[in-house]
Symmetry: C2
């Protein structure tokens, strides 16, 4: 397995410069009081397409040779990764195909189409998405853009971590801990590698849906674990079935602690972000914030970074979060 380090992330950040948004870090004394620590929120919800995913997708595309780019890319997510692939491909003029089940929500299909992606529908009762994508790769020479288990993807996501380093250093702040929402581990492995290279003693926490901590179990066992069945959770952005092999490999180099939050806690954090930060955050994107608000780690009085990783939330779910307060 080829190696992955801070140079990989620095190269990604340079490649991505000009294409992505340098998202702001938001502070709030009221949030600090609510969490009992000094919190810096990295607002990746304000990233193009409303989540960090475009960083990795675009870094992968920009790493391809001209012929591959000309033929195009394919993926099979209609969620944040699919939107990132579709929007990233449009930014650099690369054809993109998104493979979706015929049962996909119309709004997600429309959104991928809006970015100019070609949609290939398959019948989930009779076909596997992996097979549909493989046929397209073979027939048309498309390159698959994986969601997380890939060093270029991880390096792209890690560029958010480099920004955190630069933004906090500019303020003269050295954080004691960082909390990163985690599913496959692309964001967590990239960001933790980046911040550990600047602050080797920073405490790193990953946050997953409570009861479905596949990455925490993977870290404990040293082998990628699955959530089977996949969790039924409002945190859909971090509810994938499997921990990534390469992200796990990288996370195992560091002392990473796992935290879990439940749906109610995530929705409360969504509401808190509405009230105190004026940020629209999706439940899975608010998991780190929820862990802080619910004191899941012993961080009283410390200086902490939490990543709000996405803001793509159904209006009905959002209204439910607000009504819960």
């Amino acid at each position: 397995m080829e190696d992955f380090d801070i140079q990989h992330i620095q190269a990604a950040a340079e490649r991505l410069s000009g294409y992505i948004t340098r998202t702001p870090i938001i502070e709030s004394p009221m949030l600090d009081a609510a969490c009992g620590c000094n919190v810096y929120v990295k607002a990746e919800s304000l990233q193009r397409t409303g989540s960090f995913k475009i960083r990795g997708a675009l870094n992968k595309m920009l790493s391809l040779d001209a012929d591959s780019l000309g033929r195009g890319v394919v993926t099979y997510s209609a969620g944040n990764h699919g939107q990132g692939v579709a929007a990233g491909a449009r930014l650099i003029g690369c054809p993109a195909v998104i493979v979706l089940p015929t049962t996909a929500a119309a709004i997600k299909i429309e959104s991928c189409r809006w970015w100019g992606a070609e949609i290939v529908l398959y019948d989930p009762d009779t076909q596997e998405r992996e097979q549909v994508a493989r046929q397209l790769m073979e027939a048309r020479g498309l390159t698959f853009i994986p969601p997380f288990d890939d060093y270029d993807i991880m390096a792209g996501q890690g560029s958010a971590g480099l920004e955190i380093c630069e933004q906090l250093e500019a303020r003269g702040v050295a954080p004691d801990a960082i909390l990163v929402n985690c599913s496959g581990g692309g964001l967590a492995s990239g960001v933790i590698t980046a911040v550990k290279s600047r602050w080797p003693r920073i405490e790193a926490h990953i946050v997953e849906p409570a009861g479905f901590e596949k990455m925490a179990r993977s870290l404990a066992s040293g082998v990628p674990q699955r959530n089977d069945p996949v969790p039924k959770t409002v945190m859909d952005g971090i509810a994938g079935p499997v921990a990534g092999t390469r992200p796990l490999h990288v996370l195992l180099r560091h002392e990473v602690k796992g935290l879990g939050v439940n749906d109610e806690e995530a929705l409360r954090a969504v509401s808190t972000a509405f009230r105190l930060l004026k940020l629209v955050v999706e439940p899975g994107g608010a998991a780190s914030l929820a862990a802080l608000l619910e004191n899941k780690a012993d961080l009283a009085g410390k200086t902490v970074v939490a990543i709000c990783s996405g803001g793509n939330v159904d209006p009905g779910v959002y209204a439910r979060a607000l009504a819960g307060q």
Copy 2:
């Protein structure tokens, strides 16, 4: 009347540096498509206290001599201005008194108290808030912090305009037009002075609640006009009774056009900011965005700046905005 110009705003920006947030400018290709022009949104909703108001309030306080600062300041708003005064005073260690009616919403009183302000309640049936404030000024030597009709306030608000100039120039963008939400005119006069000094030919639009365009009427008549009765509107942030004399005086130097949006249009813009920008914007803060979305001005294909001036919105109103879509 002393004069007001770009030097006043530059001095304010220097004074405020380190105390306030340099709020980001947000772009979205989907928003551009919805508006039919290239839109740069200045997200003052992400400013400390959730609105631009702390800029002016803090600039006014920082302009006071040490004795006055030591005695403290007073104002009588529980809305965005009051929050700005309370939070600004705390940042610089200045005592602040907020005069509020006994009928004020508990959450607003609590929020002012949270920032450390002293609350003085009055009975709105038997007392005038101006008189209560005046008594405090005389008895305790407090300085009144006005909401808009003051050059230091206007200069502070104008610092948002200077940031727009710097942020767009850094991107190589020269805008054709700017839209600013307007009530008393503090923000509009400051921001328009700032951007006109950089781009003298920029089109300047102010946006008010439709049917209650007191500043547009003031600009037409040359004399400050009132809304009597004050509008019943969901855009409470821009529903004050009177146009400011000094803001009007400054706005009259420029060719400023007035636009109006109704409640339904403002709520639609709140929902659009949720979906496409992931920003929590209050209805009055979304008026400029609403004017763009509803094509209130002839700006097709142009490069336009809209200020989202605040994000302090009741969760019930917000849910209503989302449900309307």
